[in-house]
Amino acid sequence: MPTFVYMTRCDGCGHCVDICPSDIMHIDPTYRRAYNIEPNMCWECYSCVKACPQHAIDVRGYADFAPLGHSVRVDRDEEKGTIAWRIKFRNGAEKNFLSPITTKPWGTAIPKLADVPAPSKDMRDSELLYNEPKYIRMDEGGLHTLESNGHKMKKGVYYCWLTKRSSKTASIFWSAARALAAPAPRGKPGSGARTRKSSLPRRPTSTAPARSPRASTPSTATWAPAGARITRRTMSATHAST
């Protein structure tokens, strides 16, 4: 069953809002405490339960296997690098688990991908990549980046009202984002029309020869123009269109 927040324990720090993969943990505008805005959409992934430093979030178990009186609580201890679970059953029986979540200090084992040799042509031509999008196979040369496509990274979220108020670029950004968010004309089913394709910039012309009809298919829909705010909705729209 979905998560719920003990309002008296929550101090509105925002860790759950930050980590929720469904974007359904929000700060209540009246009480300034976190709450689940859409319990139906909760996956019970426990991300917010584990991230909450005040242990203010809990999940009710389903009544068929966890009848009244049960409790499933978790403590993610980052400093010790462990996660502990305590499960209490209705008859008072208890199960305790303690497991590692990292074996090295945080931030010390980040792979340096820049030092890893690039995949060879054989690897890129491998049949294992047949179903992968061509930008992963690097058919057109190197990896596509915002820079290689002539775009710049722009801040899309405003953390502070002062930034929002004072920044002139903010208003320009918002008007552009609103224009992008306007409903785009839909193509006929099966016609292959892509969402907002016409509003997206063209990618640099490929120099690599197309090897298959799929490889020659432009995948511009996965690239957002400069300044576009990538939201879950736009992400899913672009993924759905590719």
Binding site: C13, V17, T30, P53, R73, D75, K80, Y159, C160
Partner: protein, 280 residues
């Protein structure tokens, strides 16, 4: 300005007895408001019932000496150092506001009751502390209000959006602000403006103390109680049903699952908390 007692200067137009009566009325309002809050919200009943339930489920008994130790720990860590805050900026803002308010209230009482007229010269340190206390509340309060408050920092709401939940912080900060402005205008010799700001100071202070049942003023009483209960729960093994096993316990180090961490340092540093949560 910072070394003068504003209440002694005010005694030229307002009798010290009236000032003292006002302070007493405010103190009575705090006691009455808090008691009303406790009875109306059943917070004391909840606290004692929870304690009783915790005791019934306890795995270890916690003796009187241990409880005194926990009370001292609660007073030092949770109350005096605002240890419950995870966000250090909020913790600093809270400490500024809390100590500023305590200094402001105590020095006000000392000046109003001990040195109400210029005939009894006020020690400079008391007057200076009154200003420092008010300034601390203003710094902590405005910092919190404009930059740290969750819906401002996270949701980008206007700082001028007011809710009933803001009653305490708004009246507290405005009370100190109006008090400082009134003291400055009085020293600067603007009687009309000084009277206006004295009126605002009194209205705001009255709302702050009379509005306790509707504001979070009484958190200064029930938060320490909750922190004490939390620590007692940890000591007696109930811990609000949270897991109590930790890796530094030699017994737990024998677990099969802990084999991977045999050579790992006991402090792994911070993971997701290395970055403040603001990617809303």
């Amino acid at each position: 300005m910072f070394t003068s007692n504003p209440f002694a200067e005010l005694s030229a137009s307002v009798s010290p007895a009236i000032m003292q009566a006002y302070v007493i009325v405010m103190a009575v309002l705090v006691v009455a408001g808090t008691l009303f809050d406790v009875i109306h919200k059943h917070s004391a009943q909840y606290f004692f019932e929870n304690m009783r339930a915790g005791k019934a489920k306890a795995k270890k008994s916690v003796g009187g000496g241990k409880k005194i130790g926990i009370a001292v720990q609660t007073a030092v860590v949770d109350v005096a150092m605002s240890g419950e805050f995870c966000n250090q900026r909020r913790r600093v803002a809270h400490l500024l506001g809390m100590y500023g308010f305590v200094i402001f209230v105590v020095t006000t009482a000392i000046m109003v009751f001990g040195y109400p007229t210029p005939a009894t010269p006020t020690p400079q340190i008391v007057a200076v502390l009154w200003y420092i206390g008010a300034l601390m509340v203003c710094v902590g309060g405005y910092w919190f209000w404009f930059f740290i408050r969750v819906d401002v920092a996270a949701e980008g709401q206007s700082p001028l959006r007011l809710m009933r939940a803001d009653l305490f912080i708004i009246t507290l900060v405005l009370s100190c602000t109006f008090g400082l402005i009134w003291a400055w205008l009085q020293t600067a010799g603007s009687p009309v403006w000084a009277t206006i700001f004295l009126g605002l100071f009194l209205i705001d202070t009255t709302i702050l103390f009379a509005g306790i049942p509707w504001s979070k003023f009484s958190h200064m009483f029930f938060k320490p109680a909750a922190a004490f209960e939390k620590r007692v729960g940890k000591a007696n093994g109930t811990a609000q049903n949270l897991p109590t096993q930790t890796r530094d316990d030699p017994e737990q180090q024998k677990r099969h699952s802990m084999e991977l961490l045999v050579k790992a340092p006991m402090n792994m540093g911070l993971g997701i908390k290395r970055e403040a949560p603001r990617h809303y």
